[in-house]
């Protein structure tokens, strides 16, 4: 077995938490059940990984099999990576039948025609998700297995999720190969990024509960509307305001759980406007700002601002549009002639 493959397998196993190694090796299926029985999982990970490498040696593992183990690890720990969303476009209306074998063949052929030294690995998962791992080399160097790109393509949709290699030049090649192999015409990056792959899917596949404008006011649920302090004197006056905020929040965010995003960024190029009494800045040029919101769960956090008294209800559409516009990067310019902001794609 190639020593670089041995080292790669050793390092991959070391990344896995100790009590999950057995499960992942089983999913991998490269080592037999009998071989797995011989492993002692009650020792330090260094030793476990060495034993795994020995067994792989017995089975003459090559880089292709090692790459599959890496995909399995990254599929389970997908939230450690940052994912960007891309949308492919068809030139015409033709609905073509998707053939996975053709896809893989064409993808590999396209990439290899541009770059000889690449390692390409596929794994299919439920939900029509095809995981692709690409390790990149140069005409003179073998692929760097430690900086691969990962692609998740749902074949029944035009969406591709990419966790890019830090080697920036590889991205155009990757996009080209995807477009060609999937019979699309073009691909563009959406302004949507997150660690939570499932949340990105929820947003573009519209799998989250969206807001519905109701004609009649909904009957109020208990829960959120209970005032936190039990001061009897202010309950009545405060209650209707809290109910109003709750209702507006529901209208705008929907009542289900929000997709999980970690940040949203706004590049503002709008005019600075102030109360004329204040006698301050009155420039004809935009007041340039960059605003970034971060949270472990951004949308839930924003949803809780109005009830906490930190924001007006309803919250600004700049924030509430994030899921249905499927973006968390924005450039906002002043709309000419109106005291309003409009969305402009960069």
């Amino acid at each position: 077995m190639d020593e670089t493959v041995a080292e790669y397998i050793r390092r991959t196993v070391l990344k896995i938490p100790r009590d999950e190694i057995r499960m992942m090796l089983q999913k991998w299926g490269f080592l037999s059940e009998a071989q797995l029985q011989t492993l002692n999982f009650n020792q330090i990970k260094d030793n476990i990984s060495q034993e795994v490498v020995q067994l792989c040696e017995e089975n003459s593992a090559d880089i292709k099999q090692a790459a599959v183990l890496d995909i399995i690890y990254n599929h389970i720990y997908q939230n450690k990576r940052m994912w960007s969303v891309y949308q492919m476009k068809k030139s015409g209306e033709e609905l073509e039948y998707f053939d996975i074998t053709d896809f893989k063949k064409n993808f590999k052929r396209r990439l290899r025609s541009a770059l000889k030294n690449v390692t390409i690995t596929f794994k299919e998962y439920e939900d029509n998700a095809i995981w692709i791992r690409v390790a990149w080399g140069t005409p003179y160097k073998k692929p760097n297995q430690y900086k691969p790109s990962y692609v998740v393509y749902h074949s029944q949709t035009p969406y591709v999720f990419i966790s890019s290699s830090v080697l920036k030049s590889t991205l155009p090649l990757l996009c080209q190969a995807l477009v060609v192999a999937s019979n699309y015409h073009d691909i563009r990056e959406m302004d949507l990024r997150s660690h939570s792959l499932n949340s990105l899917k929820d947003i573009v596949f519209k799998r989250y509960s969206q807001n519905f404008q109701t004609c009649t006011p909904k009957p109020l649920q208990g829960g959120n509307v209970e005032p936190e302090n039990a001061d009897i004197r202010i309950v009545e006056e405060n209650r209707s305001e809290k109910e109003r905020i709750h209702r507006l929040n529901q209208d705008v965010f929907g009542s289900g759980p929000q997709p999980k995003l970690e940040f949203a960024q706004y590049r503002l190029e709008t005019m600075f406007k102030s109360d004329p009494k204040m006698d301050v800045l009155d420039k004809k040029e935009p007041f340039r700002c960059l605003v970034k919101f971060s949270s472990p769960h951004l949308l839930e956090s924003l949803k809780s601002l109005a009830p906490a008294g930190m924001a007006d209800a309803p919250l600004s559409p700049l924030l509430t549009c994030i899921p249905h516009k499927a973006r968390n990067y924005f450039k906002i310019k002043e709309k000419k002639g109106l005291y309003r902001a409009s969305f402009v794609s960069p």
């Binding site: 700002c289 971060s294 600004s316």
Partner: protein, 288 residues
């Protein structure tokens, strides 16, 4: 020992943890070499007691104390005092270089308010800044406390102070402002905490401040409030969020940055005295 002007370059672009220090009793400028020796012995003794600072590597810590005559506001201020810890690994050749591992310096920039009110034998250096391992800071701090009967307290920088800083620094005249004027807010008490970074192009922030400030060279609380209200209003117009209700935790400009936990970075040598003067003032109010 007198320091050369180039020594102040090391102050820039480092993250300093800031403390207020009560006046030192019985401190004598002429005895710096003695103090260095005593502090060195103290550190060595503490390490032997098992309070290991570096694990694994055997290190000798060398202590150097020096005066930085250039760092003071007026003649009424004491010259700054620099404490530097360097390491030299045991067993290496005699000519091996000492590697600096920790810096701490005491200073006073226009701290007359305090020095005028203390009795004889007290030396006023109310501002202390350190950079390096926390364990060394604790060792040096406890030696100074024992030797000079003084008290160190981490400097808390309130949102009010931070808004003064950002207004002042955003308004400074610079040939080239390279960094944005950034304000970082935190909303911790939500179920899912939220951080908001609000960064303004430095030219636009300065343009705003220039229309707010009425008298050059003078800044009033009212002007700072108007400046901040303008920023809050612009934000609210877009996002409907009341930024004033969030906690301002960090401000950052081309000149300097400051964090509410008492961590400061000075980026521009021209404004070093101005930043130190502001910090000295905060340190003195914390002492009193």
């Amino acid at each position: 020992e007198k320091a050369d002007p180039q020594k102040t370059a090391f102050l820039l672009r480092k993250a300093w943890t800031v403390y207020s220090v009560t006046p030192l009793y019985g401190f004598r400028r002429a005895r710096l070499r003695d103090y260095a020796r005593l502090l060195g012995a103290f550190i060595a003794a503490e390490k032997q007691k098992g309070l290991a600072v570096e694990v694994g590597v055997e290190l000798d810590i060398k202590v150097a104390l020096s005066s930085l005559a250039d760092i003071r506001g007026s003649e009424l201020d004491q010259a700054a005092l620099l404490v530097q810890l360097s390491s030299r690994s045991r067993g290496s050749s005699r000519n091996s270089e000492d590697k600096p591992v920790w810096w701490g310096w005491f200073c006073s920039v226009f701290g007359d308010e305090l020095s005028e009110s203390v009795p004889e034998h007290f030396t006023c250096l109310p501002l202390f800044l350190s950079h390096g391992a926390e364990s060394y800071t604790a060792l040096v701090g406890s030696w100074f406390q024992k030797t000079f009967d003084c008290c160190f307290r981490r400097l808390a920088i309130s949102p009010l102070n931070l808004s003064w800083m950002v207004a002042m620094w955003a308004g400074c005249k610079l040939d080239r402002a390279t960094s944005a004027v950034e304000l970082v807010f935190s909303v911790p008490r939500l179920a899912q905490p939220l951080d908001i970074s609000y960064a303004i192009h430095p030219e636009d922030a300065k343009a705003l401040w220039d229309t707010v400030q009425k008298t050059p060279g003078e800044i009033t609380q009212e002007e700072v409030d108007v400046f901040m209200d303008c920023l809050y209003a612009h934000f609210h117009r877009h996002f409907k969020i009341h930024l004033a209700a969030a906690k301002l935790v960090k401000v950052s400009t081309t000149i300097a940055s400051a964090h509410c936990d008492g961590i400061v970075k000075i980026l521009h040598s021209q404004y070093l005295p101005g930043v130190l003067m502001l910090l000295t003032e905060l340190a003195i109010s914390q002492i009193q």
